[in-house]
């Protein structure tokens, strides 16, 4: 990001313009994406497997040269100033890349030495981070015996060892249990809030993106299909829906008629009727209950659905994130595009 006098300004942010990565056979894993990540924010990069998330991370972390386009990370050009970018960033990539034969302390020692940290500094900082991620009791145990959550936490600590200004986390909670996932979320939020680290986080979990991200980019088939704050994206998609299931399924048609005045009818479950509300949910919900009571239609179940990121994904791509995951898994089995992500041409 050049400053007004044309020289690059060192910030904690990320910018990309028209970033493209093409793989063997002309497959474009990343197809011309633009990004702007502000300093100190958590940017969630949401998409199904094979959407292009990891390829983007590999390009932004200098591990993979882009086929076209440009990007600056922490004020440095990823193509021309690779070493400066690497100096400013930390990364925990999709695989918790650890040596099972080394202990957590061994990893800290090695990584610190490679970064040029003096011995006393790498010991101090290593111990501090091991403690911070709750691995003090296991610090001298071989990593091969760690649980998935412990490996992820060590991976995060290693990424932070040299004090990076920008942190890339590529699906950091994939495969973790709920408890480990929540602990990692807390740590990531704290890094952004207290340490001012800019975080670029890829995820395939809607909840993770919703809970953590200040801004969100949704990627599908290598293109960003939506971008904004999670709240703005959900608001853009529309108002909440209400679904009513009558106690007597034969009264479904009456339920449909009763709901019609409240907004646009939308598909619901086979036994129920659903409507996208014209106004905010709270007020209309009471009116709907009154309408059903007045008509004498007994209700077995009534649910108010707030717009979710899945609705955003559905609206922007024409399919749910879950459906896109299944599609990606099928494509991987047959060796189509998503399987190629991360394999250089």
């Amino acid at each position: 990001m050049p400053s007004s006098n044309g020289t690059p300004k060192e910030t904690n942010g990320i910018e990309a313009q028209g970033l493209v990565r093409e793989f063997k056979g002309g497959v474009r894993a990343v197809d011309g994406i633009d990004l702007e990540v502000r300093p100190g924010e958590i940017y969630g990069f949401l998409g199904p497997n094979g959407a292009g998330k990891s390829t983007t991370v590999h390009m932004l972390t200098t591990l993979l040269p882009p086929t076209a386009g440009s990007a600056r990370v922490a004020g440095h050009d990823v193509l021309k100033e690779g070493a400066a970018v690497r100096d400013a960033i930390g990364a925990a990539l999709q695989e918790a890349a650890l040596d099972p034969n080394l202990t957590a302390r061994d990893h800290m020692r090695l990584q610190g030495a490679l970064h040029g940290m003096p011995k006393d500094e790498r010991t101090r900082r290593g111990d501090e981070l091991i403690d911070r991620v709750g691995l003090s009791d296991a610090a001298d145990r071989k990593v091969g015996g760690y649980s998935g959550g412990m490996k992820r936490r060590l991976d995060l600590a290693l990424a932070l060892l040299h004090g990076p200004r920008v942190l890339f986390l590529d699906e950091p909670t994939t495969g973790l249990d709920i408890q480990s996932r929540a602990a990692l979320w807390d740590e990531v939020a704290q890094l952004s809030r207290d340490d001012g680290v800019t975080i670029f986080l890829t995820t395939q979990y809607l909840e993770e993106a919703d809970q953590l991200a200040d801004h969100l980019g949704i990627i599908d088939h290598g293109k960003i299909v939506a971008e904004g704050t999670p709240e703005a994206l959900k608001a853009e998609v529309g108002r909440p829906t209400v679904e009513v299931v009558p106690a007597d399924h034969a009264e479904r048609d009456r339920a449909v008629e009763l709901l019609r005045p409240f907004g646009e009818l939308v598909p619901g479950t086979p036994q129920g009727a659903a409507v996208r509300l014209d106004a905010d949910g709270g007020e209309q919900l009471a009116d709907i209950i009154r309408a059903f009571d007045h008509a004498g239609v007994k209700v077995a179940n009534l649910e108010l659905h707030e717009a979710s990121l899945n609705d955003v994904f559905l609206t922007k791509t024409g399919r749910s994130l879950e459906g896109a995951q299944r599609e990606a898994a099928g494509a991987q089995e047959t060796g189509e595009q998503p399987a190629l992500e991360g394999s250089p041409a």
């Binding site: 904690n12 300093p39 591990l63 690497r86 999709q94 040029g116 340490d195």
Partner: protein, 273 residues
């Protein structure tokens, strides 16, 4: 993009990353990795000893062939154990590197200011330690089994040195292969090829006693023959400058070639900008 009011990043004291710090640390990792994997050390050390025991019993009568250089087949065959250790060095070094590629550890290293030469030297350090352990084990077991070192204690030390050179040479081939694959199984697939290469040498018989012309011709051009003969000269003949020069020369030549191809592979593998 405006600079937002965010807390200052954590200050961490750093110096210019020195290759003289990186190499020992990577070597330490490589050595610990080797030492902490008994499952890879034990077979690599014992398999050549088992083959030595079988050959020494089964081929003992070869010593009665006219022109056979010694009447102790154990002494004759001991040299080959060192070469077999070299084959395990190819597999071990290559597999370690392939595991680093497959598991993403290589990317972790790439994201640091690592010097490529440090990566190669560090990876080979574990190979050297294993080679040292194997060489001393083979000499000890060979002496216990009745082998004789004609060049004496100094010769044993040179055998260890040549053995390390051989392990480095084969290890560099492992590196070159490991740089180009991303799965340890692919490194293992070259094992049979290496064994054919070893057996088409003077390992079982001195070259002058090989009766089949093509076999003798292949053995003459096979550098493995000269590495075996270098070691064997210390065991049987004593101090033979030519045999040692050829042995060390072939090992260092293979090492140079291995490092050349490993460096090329590394350059391609390290696609970082």
């Amino acid at each position: 993009m405006e600079a937002a009011a965010v807390p200052a990043p954590v200050a961490v004291r750093r110096e210019h990353p020195s290759i003289w710090v990186q190499v020992p640390e990577l070597a330490r990792r490589s050595i610990m990795r080797t030492v902490r994997q008994p499952a890879s050390v034990i077979p690599a050390t014992t398999f050549p000893l088992i083959l030595l025991a079988i050959n020494s019993v089964g081929l003992k009568s070869a010593t009665s062939l006219p022109g056979f250089p010694t009447n102790s087949y154990v002494t004759f065959a001991l040299a080959f154990a060192f070469i077999q250790a070299g084959v395990f060095a190819v597999i071990g070094t290559g597999q370690n590197l392939a595991e680093d590629n497959q598991g993403g550890f290589f990317n972790r290293l790439q994201l640091t200011p690592i010097h490529p030469a440090a990566l190669v030297a560090g990876q080979l350090a574990g190979t050297v330690v294993l080679g040292l352990f194997q060489a001393t084990t083979y000499i000890a077991v060979g002496l216990l089994a009745g082998a004789h070192i004609a060049a004496g204690f100094g010769g044993a030390l040179v055998m260890v040195a040549l053995s390390i050179a051989i392990c480095l040479a084969f290890g560099s081939i492992g590196l070159a292969v490991g740089m180009r694959v991303d799965a340890p199984e692919k490194v293992q697939s070259i094992f049979p090829l290496l064994f054919v290469f070893l057996f088409l040498s003077s390992m079982s018989l001195p070259r002058n006693l090989i009766q089949t012309d093509w076999f003798r011709e292949v053995a003459t051009y096979n550098p493995v023959s000269y590495m075996v003969e270098g070691l064997r000269s210390l065991l049987i003949t004593g101090w033979d400058g030519e045999a040692l020069a050829l042995g060390f020369g072939c090992a260092l030549g293979i090492l140079a070639l291995g490092l050349f191809f490993a460096s090329r592979g590394l350059k391609e593998r390290m696609a970082r900008t």
